[in-house]
Amino acid sequence: MKSEPTVRETLPEGLTPDRLREMYYCMVLTRTCDDRGFALNRQGKIPFAATCQGHEAIQVAAAFALRKGVDWLVPYYRDTCMALSFGVTPREQLMCLFARKDDIFSSGRQFPNHYSVPDRHIASISSIIAAHVTHAVGMALAHKMRKEDAVVLTSFGEGSTSEGEWHEAMNFAGIHKLPVVFLCENNEFAISVPQKMQMAVKNVADRAVAYGFPGVICDGTDPLASYTTVREAVERARSGGGPTLVEAKCYRAMSHTSDDNQLQYRTAEDIEASKKRDPVPRFEAWLTDRGYIDAGGILDMKARAQQEVDEATDWAEHQPMPTAEDLYTHVYAEGPLS
C-alpha cells in the first residue's frame, strides 16, 4: 500500500468512499467478533474459537467484489470477515459460536464458522478440507447451464491445494470455462505444516497453468489491491472468460484455532514479524491519510462494532440450546428413516 494521497477518481471501479468506509467497518466488526470468540473461549463459555486475523483485507475485498443477491460464496472456515462482509450478522456469528438451536448455519451441529445461508447465497462446508471446492464448481455449472449471470467465489487455504479434490475441481472448471473464482488465502501454514512441506512451488497461483486459466497474486493484507484483483477475476468469470485462481498472500496472526499453540512449531519472532502486516491498522491509516475517514469516524465505528457485538453476545448467549429431540431433525426431507 503506497502512502501518498490518492484522488478519488483513481479508486477501483465499483468502490466509492462510502464503500471504502463500509469495508473498513466490516474489518473492525470482524476483529471485534474474532476477539470476542477468544474471550468467550478463555472464559469457558464456548469450547472452541477460530480466527481470521491477518486475512481480513482479502476477505472483505472478495465479498465486496461480488454482487450480493446474485453471486454465490462458498467460503471456508477461516472466512469470518468474508461472511460478515457478505451479509452474515453479528448475532448469527455469535449464535454459531454458542452453538445454539437457532444458529442458522447448522443449528449448533457444526463447528463455528461453517457458514450456510442459502437465501443470502452462502453455501455450506463441512470440516473436510477442500471438499467444498467441487461444489462451487457444480454451482457454477448450474448457473452456466441456466444461462444465469451469477459468479461463484470459493476460498481455501494454501494447504488445501494439496488435496486431490482441489485438483479435480480446478480441472473441471477449466475445461468448461465456468464462472468461478478460486481464492487461495495463503497464510503459509496448514496448522503446523509450512508451505514448503506442502508444495514445491513458491506461489499457489503458479498452479493455474495446469488448468488452462490465469493465476494471479495479490497482497492479501491490502484491501484495495485485493479488491482490484478479485474484481478482475469476477468480471472475467461473468463475461464468459472462465475461472481465475487468485492467490492472496496473507498471514496467520494467531494459532490455528483455540486448540492449537503455534509456539510449538514457530518462533515468537516469526509470529511477531508477521503481525506487522496487520491489515486493520494499515487500512485505517490509509483511509485517514486520504481523508476518507477521521479519528472521530474511526472511534464511532469501533464503538458501533463493540456495541453490535456486545448486544449480539448477550442475545445469543440467552438463546435456547438444542435439545435431545433436535438430534433427529433434517436427516431426510421426510424425517429420520432407517
Binding site: F105, S126, A131, G138, M139, A142, N171, F172, S338
Partner: protein
Amino acid sequence: MAVKNLLEAVRETLHDALARDERVFIMGEDVGPRGNVFLITKDFVEEFGHDRVLDTPLAEASIVGVAIGAAMAGMRPIAEIQFADFIYPAYNQIVGEAAKMRYRTAGGNTCPLVIRTPYGGGVGGALSHSVSIEALFYHVPGLKILAPSTPADAKGLLNSAIADDDPVLFLEHKKTYRLIKGEVPPGEYKIPMGKADIARPGSDLSVITYGLMRHFATQAADELFKDGIDVEVVDLRSIRPMDRETIVKSATKTRRVLIVHEDNKFGGVGAEIAAIIAEEAMFELDAPIRRLCGPDVPAMGYSKAYEEAFMPSPERIAAAMRDLAAF
C-alpha cells in the same frame, strides 16, 4: 405393456426424465458420444446435447462433487460411476458430504442427486469390475440405497430417486441388464422407496434377498416347490430405508429364514437383516437364521472358476433351502 430388459428400462427412464425436466442432466465418464459402456445413454447426446449428457473428466470425486454443487443450486443431476469398483475415490463426497448436507445445515442446503452405478459379478468383470458395494454405504444415515432387480422396479425406483429431495445411490446389477426381461409400465411410473416386494409367496421358508439373487432364489424356490417345499422370496429392492415390516412378517409367517446375497458375508447387508429378525421375531423361528453369501475373500477373480466359486448359484441356494427346511 412393453416387455423390456433391465437396461432398456433404465435407459427409457433416464430418457424420459431428461425430456420431462430441464433440471435433470446426466454426467459421467463416456456417457456422451460413447453412450455409456453398456450403451445405456446411446444417442442421448444427439437428442439432448453435450450440456445435459456431460462427458466428465476421469475423476470420480469431482463427478459426485460437481453433481452435489449443481444439486445445491437447484438442478437434478444424475451422476454415473462407470463401474461400482470406481466409486471409492468418490467416497468422501458421498459419505462425508452428500449424506450429511441436509443434516449439517439443518435443512438449509440439500442435494437431490442420484448416483447410478453398475455392480456385481457374473459377467467376467474380474477383480476390479465385479464388486458389490451396498454394504460399504448402507450404514450411512442420510443416504438412500436402491437395488432393483426387475425392469419394472428399475423404472419405478429410478423415477422415485430422481424425484427425491435427498441423495440416492442407485445400484444396477450388471448381470441383470440383459438377462432379466419383464413388462414395464409406461409414463412416469414410480414405486415408493423402502418397500420390499414378495417375489414369490410361500409358507415354509423365507428367503430375504435383493438384486440378481432374487432371480436365482426364485428359480431355486420353483425347484423346491416340486418337492413340496413352498418358499417365500422377499426382494428388498430398497436397502436403505429397509422394509423391516415385511422382513419380520415373512419371518414370522414361515418361521425359517435364509438370507442370500452375492456380496461378502461378514458385515454384509445380511447382517442387519439377521439382526432385525433376532431383535423382533427371534422366538417365532424354528431354525437358526442362515446366510448364504459371497465368501469373505477380497473379490471374485477373472478366471471363470473364481466367479463360479464366489457367486451363489440357483443350485447352491436350493441346497441351502433344503437344508434349512429340514432343520
